[in-house]
Every structure is written in C-alpha cells, then in structure tokens.
C-alpha cells in the first residue's frame, strides 16, 4: 500500500503538465529572446491560422532560435497535438534542442525540458504588429495564441522583442524596420550569457579575392547555381560582390575590405540594366563592369568579372 502511494506521488512529481499561466510563463522568455523563428505555416499579418487537420497528429507551430551567445544553447519548439475530439489537444514546449527538427525531438524525447498543457481545442495562432512596449510609438512583431480549455477561451500575446527580421519560413509578412536593437541575453537563474564566445568572424584587412579563396561565402557555378559556403554575416570587414556575366542578377560574395575597379580587383557592378543582354559567359568583354580607365574588364577562370 505504502509503495503504491509513493508511486502515485512519484508520478505526480515527474509530470510536466503545468497550468495555462505556467505554460505561457515558460514560453514568454523564449519568444522574448528569440532572434529568428521558423514555421511551415503561411502566416499573414492579422490573419489567424486554425490548426484542425490532420487530427491526432503532432505538428510544429514554431521553432524559435535563441541568440547564439546564450549559455543555454539550442533551439526551442512549440508543438501542438491536434485533437481527435474536443478538449483532447495538447500544447507542448520542447526546450534546448540542437540540430534536430521539432517532430524528431518530440518522438525521441529530446530536449532539456518538456512542458505541456492538455485539454485544449480550437487553437489559433497569428502574427500581428503591436506597440512594443505598450504605449510606445513603435510597432513590433508579436505572436497571439488563442484556444479553449475547460470551455474557457484563453488568449496570450507573446511579443518578439528581439526578432531580427529574418527566417520566417513561408510566412508572408511586410518588411519590418531595420533592427537597431539586439538583446544579447538575459541573466537569471535559468538563462546565462556566454562572456565571449568562440572566434567566428572571417577575413582580414588584407584579404583579396585572388589571394584568399577561403574568404568566399557564396559561389556561383557554371550552371548559375549559388552555393553557400558560409553565412556572409560572418564577414569581419564587410562583403564584396563580383559579377558573373553569364548569370544575370547573381554575384559571387566574399569577405574583406577590397575595393572594386582597381588592378587585380573585381570589377565594380554597373547594374542589372546593363547585364540583361549578356547571353553567354565572358565573350568579347564587356561593358557590364566598371574598371579604371587604363584597365581591361575580363573574366577569370571561375567566371568572375575582374580588372586586369
């Protein structure tokens, strides 16, 4: 009898079900800090999406990416089990997963902490622009979540204070103002910041396209296919662009402060209007790039437009 009672108490202790308020109190710091998020749902401004099918399955509503300099590494998921019958839906947060999608994390029980509320139906989510903070004259992105639980309607608004204006997947959303504000982290008992993280920026003050192929962050191949070698945001001294004459509108990108138009440097871009009629690659060259007047505009072996 005693063992049985302790077993019940043990089960109660282990369960990760929380109150509705508790659930959103856990979600709030995640959305507060997130810089980017991913979703497969085609959100449009002020147009809520209802999650009704396929019933009985788990779906990912959002995957949130935390700032990279958080000690508590990893991404966070908001999942929903679409109810077969009214009141059987479950909302779930999976915290701190790495390099794995949310469904896999759910089924393999990954993540440092899982939190859920059940008894849910009629879940709707929408992205909206709200005054952030309240009474401010600036607008920011916010997630609104509504659902029924115990025949009561619940609504929560989760402002994305740190949203950096990118990575919204299929979401159709108007351009947001250029972010001039970035929260690096919040220190409390749960979340701590790395003081200084590992070296990550690329390029030196002396880098040139010819001398340092490692500084190329995006390549364009002979079939006009762009290959991303690394995120050009990692360039320490800015990004340079080189025309590829055969591929209208595409450029090779590389890190460094190199100037265009000088001897041995890439040609400066003259513009799309002047590239339209170039059908082939580097033919009898070329008035589509800018080089200093005593230099010749030509292509190198990778198809990049250079000044020699």
């Amino acid at each position: 009898m005693i063992k049985f009672l302790f077993f019940i108490l043990f089960l109660l202790g282990c369960q990760n079900k929380v109150s509705t308020q508790g659930f959103f109190d856990e979600l709030y710091p995640i959305t507060f800090l997130t810089e980017t998020f991913e979703t497969v749902w085609p959100f449009e401004e002020n147009n809520p999406i209802s999650f009704e099918n396929p019933t009985g399955t788990w779906i990912t509503i959002f995957k949130f990416y935390a700032p990279k300099n958080q000690l508590e590494d990893g991404d966070h998921c908001l999942l929903y089990k679409i109810p077969l019958k009214e009141g059987e839906g479950i909302l779930k947060i999976i915290k701190s997963i790495n390099n794995v999608d949310c469904e896999t994390a759910h089924f393999k029980k990954l993540g440092e902490k899982n939190i859920l509320i059940d008894g849910i139906s009629g879940l709707k989510a929408q992205l909206e622009m709200v005054k952030i903070p309240e009474k401010s004259f600036e607008e920011g992105l916010s997630i609104k979540i509504e659902f029924f639980k115990d025949k009561t309607k619940h609504a929560f608004s989760l402002p994305l204070y740190n949203y950096q204006g990118k990575g919204v997947g299929k979401t159709k959303f108007r351009d947001l103002p250029s972010p001039s504000f970035k929260i690096l982290g919040f220190i409390d008992n749960q979340i701590s910041m790395k003081s200084v993280s590992k070296p990550s920026y690329i390029g030196s003050e002396l880098d040139t396209f010819l001398d340092n192929p490692e500084s190329v962050c995006e390549l364009v191949d002979e079939n006009c296919k762009v290959t991303k070698k690394f995120d050009c945001e990692a360039c320490r001294y800015g990004v340079n662009y080189i025309l590829v004459p055969g591929c209208v509108g595409l450029t090779i990108k590389y890190c460094g402060p190199e100037r265009c138009g000088y001897k041995g440097s890439p040609a400066c871009i003259r513009g799309t209007k002047f590239q339209k009629n170039i059908l082939d690659n580097c033919g009898p060259v070329l008035n589509i790039g800018l080089c200093q007047e005593d230099l010749l505009v030509t292509c190198d072996k990778s198809g990049a437009l250079m000044c020699i």
């Binding site: 019940i8 903070p133 504000f181 929260i183 220190i187 993280s197 590992k198 800015g238 138009g261």
Partner: protein, 419 residues
Amino acid sequence: MFLKWKTNISLLVITILVLSFFLIKHLFSDKTGQIGRDNQKLDALFEGANHLRHFWTNGDYEGKYLRGEKTCKNNFGNLKEIWGDYLKCNPEFIKCILENEFPLTIKNFTLVPLKNAQGNILEIVSKSLQNLEGAPNYGVKMSLALEGEIGKNTLSFVLEDNCQEILLPERTYAFGPFKMDDIEKDFKWDNVGRKIYADRRMVSIRDIIEWADATHLENLISSKLREDSKLWPFPATFLTVDNMRKYCAFKGKKVLSAHVYDAFTFIPFNLDNKFPKRIYRSPYPWSKKSNDAWPYKMKKYDDYQITDEDCKNCYSQECVGKISINEYFKESVSWAGLFGVLGGIMEYLENPIHPRENLKASSKFFTGDSDWHALGIRAFWDGQGHNINHFDFSNKSPKNESEFFEVGFRCMKEIVKND
C-alpha cells in the same frame, strides 16, 4: 494491527489532500493572458532598454538637451550650435542619458545601468574587435539590472549604429559632369536590386577618436583634438587614404565611390522616370537651373554679393567669417540626403574609373567663382599628406595656399542578394 491500519488511513488522507491540491490548482488556474511576475521584470528591463534605444536612434528627440533644459557632464559644447543628428547613434550622448535618466522606474521596478569588468558603462562592439557572436559591424553594448537584484535579473543588449546611413533610390544614374554635346556618350549605371547606403555626413572627429582608441592607433589623435570635445562633431580631415579605408572597413564599409556620390547629389530632372535614356543634370545640388545658382552668377557678374543663404548651400572662401560653418553643415543637403556636398570641406572619393579624379575640391579653400564649385568636377589627391605637394588642382589651385589642406571622407556599403 490497529497501528498499521491507522498508518494506512493517515497516508490515504495525505494522498487525498495532495491529489485535491493538484486538482484545485488545475481547475482554478489563471485564464487570463497576464504575464507572471518574473516576466514582468523582463518586460520592465526591455522597456528600459527601449527607452535608451529611442535616444540612440532619435538623438535628443524631446529637445531637452538642445534647449539647455538638461545638460550632460561630458562636454558637448553648445548643443544649440550643432546639428541635432550628431546626437543620434552617439555613445557619448547615451552615456549622458544613462547618467541623467537612471535609475529609472518602470512598472514599479527600478532599473540601474551596470558597469562591465573594465568599469565602463558602455562597451563598443564590433566584428573587427571582438568575437562576440551576433555582434553588428559596429554598435554599443550595455546592461541594465533591477535594483537589488544585480547579477540575477540583468538584460544585456546592443544598439547598432545605422543612424547615419541613407539609402540610394533604385534608378539609372550618370557619372561625371553634364556635357550637352556629349550626352549620348554619358556613362550610365544603375542600382536595381542593390541596396546602396551612404553616410549622410562625413566621418566626425569623435568617430575617429573612438576608432583610433579601439584599434590602438591613438597616435593619430592630437591632444588638442582629444581634449576639446567641442570640435568632435566636425569632419575628421587629417587622415591619410589608407587610414580612411581602414576606418570604413572597421565599420564593415568602404570609402564612398565617386559615381555613387554623383548619384546622391545630381538632382534627377524627372523623379517619375527611373530609367531615363538621357540624364540631364545641373552642376548645383540645390537647383535644377544652373543659371539660377549663385556660383554661376558670381562668375558672370563681377558685383554679385554672396548672401548668408548662399553660404548655407555652398560654403566658399568668402563665407569664412560671414556665417558659422555649423549653419552650412546643418542645412546643405542634396536631393537624396547627403550633407555638405558643395563647398565646406574637401572630400576624398574612390574613383573606380578615373583614378586621377578622386577629390571633391569644392571647399572653403576656393572663392565662389571657382570652377571647382560644381558637381562631378574633381581634382587629385595622392592620399599621403595634406600640403599642396600632395594635390593636383591642375591650373586651378587655391589663391591662398594653405599649409594644411583638410580632406574629409564618408563611408558607404552595398547589399546584393542572390535571389
């Protein structure tokens, strides 16, 4: 037997009580969308950070500092005399705000700024200085905490510097001065699909002091400049080209190119036609009619008297002592938003086509009737020094040769997407 029965009953009662507690807690859970106490702290910290962001991006947006109702300990000089946008994205001004406006009470929480390990309230962050992930090319980092909870509830954030940047509208532009008889051969280019940003103003002395200190080039700064903060808003005119390039690279940018400068300054005659076949242009950034502009009149009429308004458009040699150059810096703006375009300070430009035309010579060194006071007309500077031997003004050298020719510069950046 009785004891065992009693123990079981007691445990059952405890279990029922515990279960009842969870059940009641579950049934009476909050149903409103209010955030919990810990998250209210987060919100208060964010509002404090956002308060600072307003001052960062808008400068003295309430005008209290410019009107003298509030003052800064660090000496900006007479704020009424300088242009308001000097205070935008200015770490010195944010230091002043942190000192004046904090501790700040928001939603019953008191917010205080924190100092870093070096004892500084602000820290310059840059991709070229630190390896802090997610850092912008340039910005300032600071931390706010809740009073009494320092080390527990602290928000660290970065304010990025993009106040000075202005976007060039996407259209076709011409390069160089307008030649009526040669208009078919005009060199044209466009920026369709490319975001080109230029700094509104030339790089200031304050910017250079900060950069030199951060990159161990302190020797570039004279003690006079370092000590006299009233000079800090003015363009830095003492660098070599090599250092100008290094400065712009530090910010993830490049020195402004001559053809981009022309695009920002020549007024388009028809704004509705973004891709004209012929691009007519006036040599003066404030007027489409060249014969209405005062340098033209001054060349034509010997008795032309320069007015204060003339000097606000183009600050020539005659304007020195007539009006303060501050007035010119406040008001001389091109159609696309560049300040200080004709007259004032000479400006170095990278020229991707004509390397011997890299200097906007129009400046206070030349009288109003000089041919240099026209857009697209450029001299040569070797970028190595500032006496006359480093310049080639052809046969149009200044009448009063200075020992030190000041040359300023500004930066630009370009963003192209592979879509």
